[in-house]
């Protein structure tokens, strides 16, 4: 009996290891494709069907994979003893914490809004269009307002730290997918289940907690994945636009200015941001696995 359990556990480990290997393989695959293209692609770009769709393959536009990787192990600046990988790692960690705060604020807000909209049809009609509109307002128009108003906020001895603005902007991007996805999910429970709750004279809140919310989880999960990515983007963009120092966004733009002479450098930071996004959605995937652990699964016959 226990041996069977161990076999099962082992199988699970094997699956995880295989997944990790596959991920590495897919990275390798992309790297090979990149290098292949560099080998055969036109140096100065090219056209297909009259469209300029072929990218340039020169070293400025597409640095060699090994150049980018080696760059991690060289100092950030000549004469400095900090290797780039440690700088990027530190930046990613900084941004990760901001993104986490943004994600938390954003998904809470998104959920709250979706509940409000699920509760009051009128709220859905009244608010939803404006939520859509809010997402088309560029951060550039908002960033100064947030920074400036946040800077004026002093609540009971607590002053708005500058990084908070970045987290809030992350939340601004993160809340929307959650609001839309959760709204769909909250209204997706079958009528029969609603009838059951009605037969218990369950209040709206009770129905929300016991029925609507659990039924919404399959919809909320992908929303949270989007929100995780969005909060990373929001934070990175906010770092750039509000001039916040210490994060990966700042590194990206600083390195981007050096792309003329050191094209590989900016890629080190870009990959850092990508890894950050992966870490965030990895968290959501874990939550997904946990929340869906007891749901019926397709038999794997």
């Amino acid at each position: 009996m226990t041996t069977v359990a161990t076999i099962k556990k082992n199988r699970e480990t094997v699956r995880r290891v295989r997944r990790a290997i596959l991920f590495v393989v897919s990275l390798l695959f992309v790297a090979v494709a990149w290098e292949l293209y560099k080998a055969v692609g036109p140096e100065a770009g090219g056209k297909i069907f009259g469209w300029k769709l072929l990218p340039r393959s020169n070293n400025n536009a597409m640095p060699h994979v090994w150049d980018m990787l080696m760059r991690y192990n060289r100092p950030e600046l000549r004469g400095s003893d900090r290797k780039i990988w440690s700088v990027v790692l530190a930046g990613a960690w900084f941004s990760f914490r901001l993104a986490l705060v943004g994600f938390a604020i954003g998904s809470t807000l998104g959920l709250g809004l979706s509940i409000l909209m699920a509760r009051f049809k009128i709220a859905e009609r009244g608010i939803l269009p404006y939520l859509v509109v809010s997402q088309t307002v560029p951060l550039i128009a908002l960033a100064p307002l947030v920074v400036s108003w946040g800077g004026k906020l002093h609540i009971a001895g607590w002053t708005w730290p500058r990084w908070m603005s970045a987290a809030v902007l992350g939340a601004f991007l993160a809340f929307f997918p959650v609001a839309v996805g959760a709204l769909k999910g909250l209204t997706s429970a079958p009528l029969a289940s609603h009838e059951l709750m009605d037969s218990y004279a369950a209040s709206w809140w009770q129905t929300l907690r016991k029925l609507r919310f659990p039924a919404a989880i399959p919809f909320i999960v992908p929303s949270l994945k989007l929100a995780a990515s969005a909060s990373v983007i929001g934070v990175v963009v906010a770092e750039i636009s509000t001039g916040l120092k210490g994060g990966i966004g700042r590194l990206i733009i600083e390195y981007a200015r050096e792309a003329t002479g050191d094209p590989a450098k900016v890629f080190t930071a870009v990959f850092g941001a990508a890894a950050l996004g992966l870490a965030m959605s990895g968290l959501v995937t874990l939550a997904d696995i946990y929340m869906m652990r007891n749901r019926p699964k397709e038999a794997s016959a």
Partner: protein
């Protein structure tokens, strides 16, 4: 009054009331706190600038809107195809999904800068690629969930008909994923617009909404900048409304009725 016009009123009135209230509050805040135009322009001023510059805004919206639309269609198409492929060939899932997430976590204008170098800064291709990527990701994440979140009995039944995986995909998974797809499209609608013009921030032809917004903000012409933002909002809203309408058309059998409409 006919029930039809009543229902039109019911669906138009709440947003209208909310909008009017919001704009009035904005106007009052600006006037009441005497906020200077460099900081925040009052809606009345924005509207004035909007009407004054309507031709310019329309021209810029056409440029950004075209990019957004092309990216939206392409991204939705690719996202669907890819999620079909992922659900059909499971091993692809582990290969592709992390890459898609990683790619999507890189902020837009950074990728655009990279793409600008790979293509040409004068080309619209990088911007369209950017919108495509963003929409692709949104659609992929949602539709992939919809394709797997099926009722197990349904799949069993299809298997009992010896249905191939492709047939199960077409007859069970895709219908089941329809609401997920439209959720994705609704999220994508504003996202495509904002991506299209954010990709204009740091390079390229200066004919779209994005570059107009940045240059006006940098020049403290806040009201004009917000007039362009208003143009962007309208663009995003119209994309959203089209996807909403499509959802109504594409949901067969009034499935919505099976779930509780709030009373």
């Amino acid at each position: 009054m006919s029930s039809r016009s009543l229902s039109v009123i019911r669906s138009v009135l709440p947003p209208a009331v909310f909008g009017v209230a919001f704009i009035a509050a904005w106007e009052l805040v600006v006037k009441g706190f005497n906020l200077k135009p460099y900081f925040l322009a009052p809606p009345s001023k924005i509207w004035q600038k909007f009407t004054e510059n309507i031709d310019l805004i329309w021209g810029a919206a056409k440029v950004s809107g075209t990019n957004a639309l092309i990216g939206l269609l392409l991204g939705a198409f690719l996202g669907m195809v890819m999620s079909f492929a992922l659900s059909r060939f499971k091993f692809l899932n582990n290969l592709i999904t992390p890459l898609a997430i990683a790619l999507n976590a890189v902020p837009i204008f950074v990728l655009v800068a990279v793409l600008n170098n790979m293509f040409a800064i004068t080309s619209e291709v990088p911007r369209r690629i950017m919108v495509t990527l963003v929409v692709y990701f949104i659609v992929l994440v949602n539709v992939a969930k919809g394709l797997t979140q099926v009722i197990p009995t349904h799949v069993e039944m299809m298997k009992s008909y010896a249905a191939s995986d492709t047939q199960i995909l077409c007859k069970v998974r895709i219908p089941n994923a329809v609401p997920y797809l439209f959720t994705a499209l609704k999220i994508s609608a504003p996202a495509s617009v904002i991506t299209a013009f954010v990709s204009e921030y740091f390079g390229g032809s200066q004919n779209g909404l994005g570059s107009r917004i940045t240059s006006n903000i940098a020049n403290s012409k806040n009201a004009v900048a917000w007039a362009y933002v208003l143009g962007a909002c309208l663009l995003g809203l119209s994309f959203y409304m089209v996807s909403s309408l499509l959802e109504g058309v594409a949901t067969p059998g009034g499935r919505a009725k099976r779930t509780r409409e709030d009373r």
